[in-house]
């Protein structure tokens, strides 16, 4: 970790702010605005911890490049049938792991995703960890990689929106 401590703290706070905005967009159901948090060549994946630990590459969601992110956003918004629901993210335990010479920032954060269906109680959709690599474009952080690795291996029915 080459960066001085003050920079790392500042990065941590910036990532927290990034994640808060990211979650606010998803929690509001504004899925069309979600790809804007990623760089052109981004990889986005949601996968269970059993796959992550065993280095199995599969993703519940597996997107290579912002085109696939936009396609998913489009499909969820326009073609996919599912019951209405509210989602809410709690993101915490943000950690900056390293900044490489090319200024790519590796970071992690824990998330809990709560889901509420009409006439039902709020449930814990999943808990997991973001394994991220950020780059900076025009002064703003963008995700070059986000692997959402969930502990909650058994999904209840369906995971509709990105995490």
């Amino acid at each position: 970790m080459s960066a001085p401590a003050a920079d790392l703290r500042s990065l941590r706070l910036e990532i927290e702010e990034f994640n808060a905005e990211y979650a606010a967009v998803l929690d509001a159901g504004r899925v069309a605005d979600w790809p804007a948090f990623f760089s052109e060549d981004a990889v986005y994946r949601i996968t269970g911890r059993e796959n992550w630990d065993a280095k199995l590459p599969v993703g519940l969601v597996y997107c290579e490049g912002i085109g696939m992110l936009r396609d998913r956003a489009l499909a969820i918004a326009k073609t996919t049938m599912f019951a209405p629901r509210y989602l809410l993210h709690q993101i915490s335990n943000t950690r900056v792991l390293s900044v490489d010479p090319a200024s790519v920032v590796s970071a992690e954060a824990n998330y809990a995703l709560f889901e509420t269906l009409v006439d039902e109680r709020t449930t814990l959709q999943q808990v997991g960890r973001y394994h991220d690599r950020f780059i900076r474009e025009d002064g703003r952080l963008r995700l070059k990689e986000r692997h959402c690795v969930y502990d909650s291996l058994i999904i209840d029915t369906a995971l509709i929106y990105p995490v």
């Binding site: 996968t47 499909a75 999904i155």
Partner: protein
């Protein structure tokens, strides 16, 4: 925990009488009754069926083992030190502990954590600690024989790397069990090439387990529920397709062929499909590519192997799904996604990208799971009763029409016979 504790299920309790409309109406209790579920465990999952338990690629080496299920019953699938595959209950012969805990593992023997009774990888009891007591005090009586106290072993068969088990001792061969018509497309996916495991999904659905079979014997829903398929040209009601059913009626292959020149939707079909829209376009077209790697007329085959296996070949994304029932109102689905040994990196990534169609976050998977949830909810508290299964008239068996429920009727002819309903 069988027999005595469970309600005895005589031939047909009076409350569970099938309606007189024959196969055109399925009563709700088929999907919601605990009594029916108990009978299904006894006659189907623990009866004369081959149940999927593992891919051999999951337990590639001697000593590898996997926790699995036959119906809801926990079993262990293990490869012994000579390479043979065994399946036995995950229940210690001493006090009944579910002894094997990790999802996958490797060992030379299996040791129950409670009192360390030790079993080999075929489920035989090989050691009881302090069997002779300490200083000859206590321990097992002389008449106790290790051979009498192994784990309950199941009948095992494999076909091209896919492992099945049965509680029935005198099962016909797997090939006879599924019949030639369904075996054919099974062998397209499993031609004997070594598989490469790409990973797992797991999800529950709050619906009856049979609903999943019906969903995949129901070509009617594909172009209606799945707007994605229609909007992005993966499937249209006019594509060549088939619902292949084996002679018994229980197994099936839902197949469709993508025309080489891409989909053509005639005006009439467009009018019938609310989902159709010419306006939507995918940015990343790689997603829709079909690498023609299979020796088959079909670009998609979804196979329902009774009672607990789905084999998915959706373009180039491959997987099996194991159904684990959890009472009448919920099932667990274990997905294993795979490719073949020797796939290039790009081919693997192509399979992964196309995997976005399926699974509990797949564009199709989301919709099927939601629809099945809605059906179970609809049945649980309503005053009205029963499903209407009239598409295609009284037709049963293999059909090349899309707008038919023949496959569902075939399944229920078989089911009623086995269940004595």
């Amino acid at each position: 925990m069988p027999d005595s504790a469970r309600t005895e299920t005589p031939a047909a309790s009076p409350a569970l009488r099938w309606p007189s409309d024959g196969l055109s109406k399925i009563p709700d209790w088929v999907y919601t009754s605990p009594e029916i579920y108990e009978r299904e465990v006894e006659r189907i999952f623990h009866g004369r069926t081959w149940n999927f338990v593992a891919l051999e690629a999951e337990i590639p080496e001697p000593g590898c083992f996997k926790r699995s299920f036959v119906g809801a019953t926990p079993v262990i699938v293990a490869r012994d030190l000579k390479g043979a595959v065994h399946v036995f209950e995950n229940r210690c012969a001493h006090r009944g502990a579910e002894l094997c805990r990790p999802a996958l593992g490797k060992a030379t023997e299996l040791v129950c954590p409670y009192h360390q009774w030790t079993y080999d990888l075929a489920g035989n009891l090989t050691a009881v600690p302090f069997r002779r007591g300490i200083k000859n005090e206590g321990g097992m009586p002389r008449e106790f024989r290790l051979e009498d106290h192994g784990l309950l072993k199941l009948n095992v068969t494999t076909r091209h790397g896919v492992v099945f088990a049965s509680f029935a001792r005198d099962m016909e061969s797997f090939e006879d069990y599924i019949g030639p018509d369904v075996l054919k497309d099974f062998d397209v996916v499993f031609p004997g090439r070594p598989l490469k495991i790409l990973g797992y999904y797991r999800n529950t659905v709050p619906a009856n387990w049979k609903m999943y079979h019906e969903n995949l014997k129901d070509p009617y829903h594909a172009t209606l529920l799945h707007a994605f398929l229609v909007c992005f040209g993966l499937m249209v009601a006019g594509n060549r397709s088939a619902m292949i059913v084996d002679a018994s009626g229980r197994h099936g292959t839902l197949a469709s062929a993508r025309p080489k020149e891409g989909p053509k939707v005639d005006a009439d079909s467009k009018a019938q499909m609310r989902a159709f829209s010419d306006a939507l376009k995918l940015e990343d077209r790689r997603f829709l590519e079909f690498v023609r790697e299979f020796d088959s007329e079909w670009s998609v085959t979804m196979q329902t192997i009774w009672p607990n296996l789905i084999v998915q070949r959706e373009l180039n994304t491959l997987g099996v799904r194991q159904i684990v029932p959890r009472g009448p109102n919920e099932y667990l689905m274990n997905w294993i996604m795979f490719g073949y040994e020797g796939d290039s990196d790009e081919m693997t990534r192509h399979r992964l990208r196309q995997g976005n169609l399926m699974g509990p976050s797949g564009f199709l998977g989301i919709e099927d799971n939601e629809a099945m949830r809605f059906v179970q909810q609809g049945m649980l508290k309503s005053e009205s009763d029963g499903s209407v299964i009239m598409l295609g008239g009284a037709e049963e068996g293999t059909s090349y029409k899309m707008i038919t429920e023949a496959g569902i009727r075939s399944l229920y002819r078989h089911y009623r016979e086995v269940m004595g309903l």
